[in-house]
């Protein structure tokens, strides 16, 4: 588990980053504190054409059918900085409400793929439900599969590739969890209550933070 801002390892129940003091409140300070309503495919940067949008939406539906607990959201925006991508994903997944999700779907079961065509970067953020099952390397593999497509500007193809890889990884993890759930439970077991916690430091404000996303994509 890493801090979205400084990408340093943090404790599994850290209230704030022990290295940079980052919390969700800092992200709200940068990107806004209101609630957002978003579709699962929100192409605010205008990267997808009509046909491509349908293909991606079909892939998202298939993912939902295959993993009824989970959902994937794709958000394209212009942040301008690669470093802002992780805090933005963290903020959006906690703040946004996603439409057309089956009733009972928790936001903790979400996976958010954020693409910034300006800084030419993409990142993945996921909810607590997937904390024991997804690792940084898994998400890196998904993005690596899409890299060549995005390099050529074929964003839809890259999204489909990333989704396919993500689906494959999750199927594998699901089978492993069915066979040995204790292995995954150990990863998220609450820490020893007697252990001393490191108090978070006050997070410094970034020199030039990206524009708030809600200003670009308002609630539909």
């Amino acid at each position: 588990m890493k801090c979205p801002r400084c990408v340093q390892k943090i404790h599994r129940a850290a209230g704030g980053c022990p290295h940079c003091g980052f919390t969700l409140a800092d992200a709200e300070g940068w990107f806004g504190g209101m609630e957002l309503n978003l579709r699962c495919l929100a192409d605010t940067a205008g990267l997808l054409r009509y046909g491509e949008r349908e293909r991606v939406e079909a892939a998202l539906d298939q993912f939902k059918r295959r993993f009824p607990q989970l959902f994937v959201a794709i958000y394209t925006t212009t942040l301008g900085e690669v470093d802002a991508l992780r805090p933005f994903g963290f903020w959006l997944l906690n703040r946004a409400s996603f439409e057309a999700l089956p009733p009972g779907t928790s936001k903790a079961a979400g996976i958010l793929l954020t693409i910034d065509p300006e800084s030419k970067a993409a990142g993945i953020t996921f909810g607590y439900l997937l904390d024991p099952f997804l690792e940084e390397a898994d998400t890196f593999d998904c993005l690596a599969r899409a890299h060549s497509h995005w390099l050529e500007g074929r964003y839809a193809d890259g999204m489909l590739k990333a989704l396919a890889q993500l689906s494959w990884v999750l199927r594998k993890r699901c089978r492993q969890a069915r066979r040995n759930p204790a292995r995954f439970e150990r990863k998220v077991r609450p820490p020893n209550p007697g252990a001393e916690r490191i108090p978070p430091r006050e997070a410094p404000r970034p020199a030039s933070h990206p524009p708030a996303a809600h200003q670009e994509e308002g609630p539909p």
Binding site: M1, P4, R5, C6, V7, I10, H11, R12, A13, G15, F22, T23, L24, R66, F67, P68, Q69, E81, V82, D83, L85, G89, F90, L93, N94, S106, K107, A108, G110, S119, K120, A121, A122, G123, I124, T125, F126, G127, Y128, L129, L130, D131, F133, E136, T139, F140, C142, L143, A144, H147, W150, L151, L170, R171, C174, A177, F184, E185, P190, P191
Partner: protein, 342 residues
């Protein structure tokens, strides 16, 4: 009585004394009047045996017989007529002896045919013999090698001989394409020369042909025995050659032949094969459909929130695709961009 005794003694004395000087019996003496009475009936050579020194009269002149009066066949023409040429070279022969000019006597042809047929029944390599007359030549426009390659490309392997009746030394030996690659030219030449030597030892052309073909058959039989002697550590080249020849012989050339060979097998396995294929296809389809329909449920564990996020704090990877010079492999280590800048 005494007179008779002296006469007998006089007649006996020359007979007893002469053998002492010349042991051979005296030649018979023929009376001149008898010779003159029937000069035609007596052979002239008999006159030499007489002690008469008269000149031998020349033999009487006889009229030459007509062609129709001659016993046997007239010599064949030097050129082969068009009809016979077609019979020789138009198609693959249906019999093992090809003699459209009927140069062989019917009995000799039957014997030879029976021999070649019995050889074909026993051996795996057939023997075809084209019979020509000794003074005949195959026209230059007949491309023998090409015809043999065309006619004998399919079916059983075969030895083909162009045999010149009465002149076995002119014979030519060819092999079907399935054998040309596996029997060396030296071996072919040796086989032909050996058969010619055996044929030359006979006097009549029919006997020569029979000796020639029987020797060739024995050479074929010997070759097959050698090739089939696998356990005895025989010639590996020959063994592999036979295997290849058999394989080539078995190989059907036309789709029709291939289908005719496979049809009984196909009819036999069609129903169970189709059933099995249908079952496999159904199983594969069902498996694919089940996989496609499968849903995955993760166990849910209690996760303590961190960094103030109520729903998510799982930070995955970030990758940049700004330049092809920075591939994903160079971005494995996930650190903040500010660290890169520093």
């Amino acid at each position: 009585m005494k007179r008779l005794w002296w006469l007998a003694l006089a007649a006996w004395l020359p007979g007893t004394l002469l053998p002492a000087r010349n042991p051979s019996p005296p030649p018979p003496v023929r009376a001149r009047d008898h010779k003159q009475a029937d000069p035609v009936a007596e052979p002239p050579a008999a006159l030499v045996l007489t002690d008469e020194s008269e000149a031998i009269p020349p033999p009487p002149e006889f009229e030459k017989p007509d062609t129709g009066e001659l016993v046997g066949k007239p010599p064949a023409a030097a050129t082969i007529c068009e009809k016979d040429l077609r019979a020789y070279f138009e198609a693959r022969p249906k019999t093992y002896l090809i003699d459209p000019q009927q140069l062989l006597d019917p009995q000799a042809a039957r014997d030879e045919m029976d021999f070649l047929k019995s050889h074909a029944d026993d051996a795996t390599i057939d023997l075809f013999i084209y019979v020509f007359d000794r003074n005949q030549e195959i026209p230059g426009d007949v491309r023998k090698e090409e015809l043999i390659e065309r006619f004998f490309a399919s079916g059983r392997p075969a030895l083909i001989v162009y045999y010149y009746l009465g002149a076995p030394e002119q014979s030519a030996l060819y092999l079907s394409p399935s054998l040309t690659d596996v029997v060396s030219a030296t071996e072919q030449q040796r086989t032909l020369q050996s058969a010619v030597r055996h044929a030359i030892g006979k006097t009549s052309p029919q006997e020569q042909l029979l000796a020639f073909s029987s020797h060739l058959a024995s050479r074929i039989y010997w070759m097959e025995r050698l090739l089939g002697d696998a356990a005895g550590g025989g010639d590996h080249d020959l063994k592999s050659a036979q295997a290849r020849a058999a394989k080539l012989a078995k190989k059907p050339t036309s789709p029709g032949e291939k289908w005719a060979r496979l049809r009984p097998l196909a009819e036999e396995i069609a129903v169970p094969g189709l059933l099995l294929a249908s079952l496999l296809a159904a199983a594969a389809g069902l498996s694919g459909w089940l996989r496609w329909r499968a849903t995955y449920q993760f166990p849910e564990f209690a996760v303590e929130p961190r960094l103030g996020g109520d729903h998510a704090a799982g930070v995955g990877a970030v990758i940049t695709f700004a330049s092809a010079a920075l591939p994903p492999a160079a971005q494995c280590e996930q650190v903040a961009e500010c660290w890169h800048r520093n």
